[in-house]
Symmetry: C2
Subunit: 504 residues, 2 copies
Amino acid sequence: MSVTSRNPATGDERVLDVDETTSEEVAHLARRAHDHVFDYAARPLTWRATMLGAMADELDAAASDLVDLAVIETALTRPRLEGELRRTSFQLRFFASIVTEGSFLNASIDHAHDTPMGPLPDLRRVNVPLGVVGVFGSSNFPFAFSVPGGDTASALAAGCPVIIKAHPAHPATSQACFEALRRGARKADAPEGLVSLIFGLAAGEALVDDPSVAAIGFTGSVAAGRALWRRASERPVPIPFYGELGASNPLVVSRRAASRRASEIGRGIAGSVTLGVGQFCTKPGLVFVPSTTDGDTVVTELAEVIRELSPMTMLSSGIAEHFREGLRALSEISQCRPLVNDGEGIDANVRAQLFEVSANDFASSPARTLRDECFGPTALVVRYDDRDDLLRALDATDSALTFSAFIEEDDDESWLVEYGSTKAGRVIVNGYPTGVGVSWSMQHGGPWPSTTASWATSVGAGAIGRWLRPVSYQDVAQKLLPELLRDDSTVHVVRRVDGVLQGL
Amino acid sequence: MSVTSRNPATGDERVLDVDETTSEEVAHLARRAHDHVFDYAARPLTWRATMLGAMADELDAAASDLVDLAVIETALTRPRLEGELRRTSFQLRFFASIVTEGSFLNASIDHAHDTPMGPLPDLRRVNVPLGVVGVFGSSNFPFAFSVPGGDTASALAAGCPVIIKAHPAHPATSQACFEALRRGARKADAPEGLVSLIFGLAAGEALVDDPSVAAIGFTGSVAAGRALWRRASERPVPIPFYGELGASNPLVVSRRAASRRASEIGRGIAGSVTLGVGQFCTKPGLVFVPSTTDGDTVVTELAEVIRELSPMTMLSSGIAEHFREGLRALSEISQCRPLVNDGEGIDANVRAQLFEVSANDFASSPARTLRDECFGPTALVVRYDDRDDLLRALDATDSALTFSAFIEEDDDESWLVEYGSTKAGRVIVNGYPTGVGVSWSMQHGGPWPSTTASWATSVGAGAIGRWLRPVSYQDVAQKLLPELLRDDSTVHVVRRVDGVLQGL
């Protein structure tokens, strides 16, 4: 079956020059990638870094064409897509620097020694790549969380061949990005098939099932993620599944912050809720505002900006329809009061909406609708009377990717920082959660349902850790050890030697 | 229902002064433990280390009584149990040192800075404890992998309260170990209920299901592990499940090694196969020996020692019956030739057996029986003609905890080291896999079916990583940050600052 590219803004369709990938082709690509596992892992770290850099260069060189395609396929704005692509090539170069820095290998050498439990042999440990990684591109970030995105970059950095399943919302962008990656790989003399691209739902399922595939990276909804995770776990040989799923990220405005910055905060929240048409996994979906007149101002400003910003075009008519279903479900909850509700839109075009509920009703209602992510330009404002009321409502939220708190320097609600760390992977003070920086200290992940593995991150240096496992070598002769575990290694990376970190 | 302690050597039973834990009691203990999560995580690392040391001291002080109980309940030898207990208190002290060393926190500070993708905010990351950890004690290590074992020690070191499900094969030992841990906790002024003990299958299931429990550590069979893993994954809020399961660990003798050390190696393998009545997860279950006359000598010596060592008493009559079922299944495979087969034994008493199969038959047979772990004093000898024959048979094995190779310095088969790293978590040259040292560089784990998470280890410093998740703090004021993320922190641990490791 041919792959079709749709323009969500106009409804125009165009048939691409590629077909959905058959399960036989998936098996072939997976076997070919698997054949490269040894070779790729054995190449010098500097070579691996060079290849990632070459891929970044090819993306930059093709930037104009890639953004043109993505504008048509996603209806996201050109500045947003240009920024996302810059971030994507930056991310590839960032992982190149992580590869050569080498601490991700967690190398450790314990020379033979005596202990209270008896003598221990010579023991040396290093992280090795898992093998072929399957990546599921996301709908909402056609570059940064798709074909050339963080999962691909971190898996390649870890030494794993990658097979990417293109998201059906932007197949032409996916194909063009893949070609840029492949040009980079070829320029670096990488083996053919180190990176592959597949299309179609059935091909994605075949990828999860394939015995040559060792791990999966996924960005998408809770429902799809949970189904694929189960599939990966129920294989004869289960494999790790790293899903970055949905989140209804809390954002709390303290009474004092509302009293001093009501308008600024209200307008800021509106910008964050509607950024990229609300299609960010870090969108603040639950906005906790005090039931004071200052709180009223926050909400009024928030509602006003949201009303002004409508209508908008979502990534696809299917995603828009799912958004409308979410809005209808919220409307049907009697305690849920619509604040902005100017119609639904049609096809991929939607109108932003805003709802309000009391903290007490939120805490006491068992309705999943109040807690589940509604992907798109909307938020649920939760109005609280006092700290106990706020805490009960926060306790009734799910864990999330982010937790934001607007507090003052002299605020009584600074406990929100520590509390936030129990609910999310990133705690933000006086800022908005949309926007996830690529850096050493970034954690993009959190407890279920925001991810399937809260110890992992899909953004930042730590993302490489998902595609590695440690191997220890006991009493292995120097010449048979991986080079960086030898006593006279010339690979300059941090190593722990007899318990002490060395080589910085 | 009362808990009963059985002596596997005599069949004697005695009713203990404890009952199986009801699901209501499990819920109570889990809630109580959960109430301590904040307090425990917030205490200084030095306090945490002191408590682990106090627990080790109490175990040492009670060593004589603990070993007496374990001898009766497990039929393991006194020297073995004394050594295991020494290792267990050593392990608690080792984790105390890891806590104060602090690199497990993976602290990282990125000051606000400009990047090609725009300015980044101040971002700081540290690992936080997951919350209450449930631990399933093993049958085969009543100390080191049970109540006071590695899962408990590493979870407490990570800052997590622990609830331990006692293994039914040694309830009195479990209770006495728990009391020692509790005495240590009380001496350190730990909150009551930081460590709890439960009994019974239903209580274990309730533990996995409990909403207050954040993660599970398990040591046991593939079947039980997979069932509990599924249970943990299918909860409304899934939790991580770290199962150290079964493994049929390969051990390869090269042609040249056989020609030079046949007798020594044959006798050594026999010792490793029958150590602790073959009840080690690292037992070499698949022994690859060349089809040469030297190989015949290896096998003859191996068989002779195994024959001499029989009969033996296993940990329980249930485990012995399961072992006999495994032996019968092997006997029923026509290509499988019995080498030692002097009867079955009764109750908990068994006779060691040894089987042989050709590498070709092993590689071409789909029978799971040839690959699955047979827990107890037996091994399957796989005879190979040449390198291709060996490689085909090795490719047909499952992944395992360990991979051992007996090779000479001038051997043609040194490729076995690199090959082993693709199949197991620990590669051993000219040594036996039984015996797992507690150290920085130990990796005790490997791909499925040896564990449910190949990135994790249940022994060694890395074991602490299972009970942690990272949290990033964005633009959080110094005074509201966890102390070790502040610019002027007085907690002296390794931190990455603006991408560079510091403080060593």
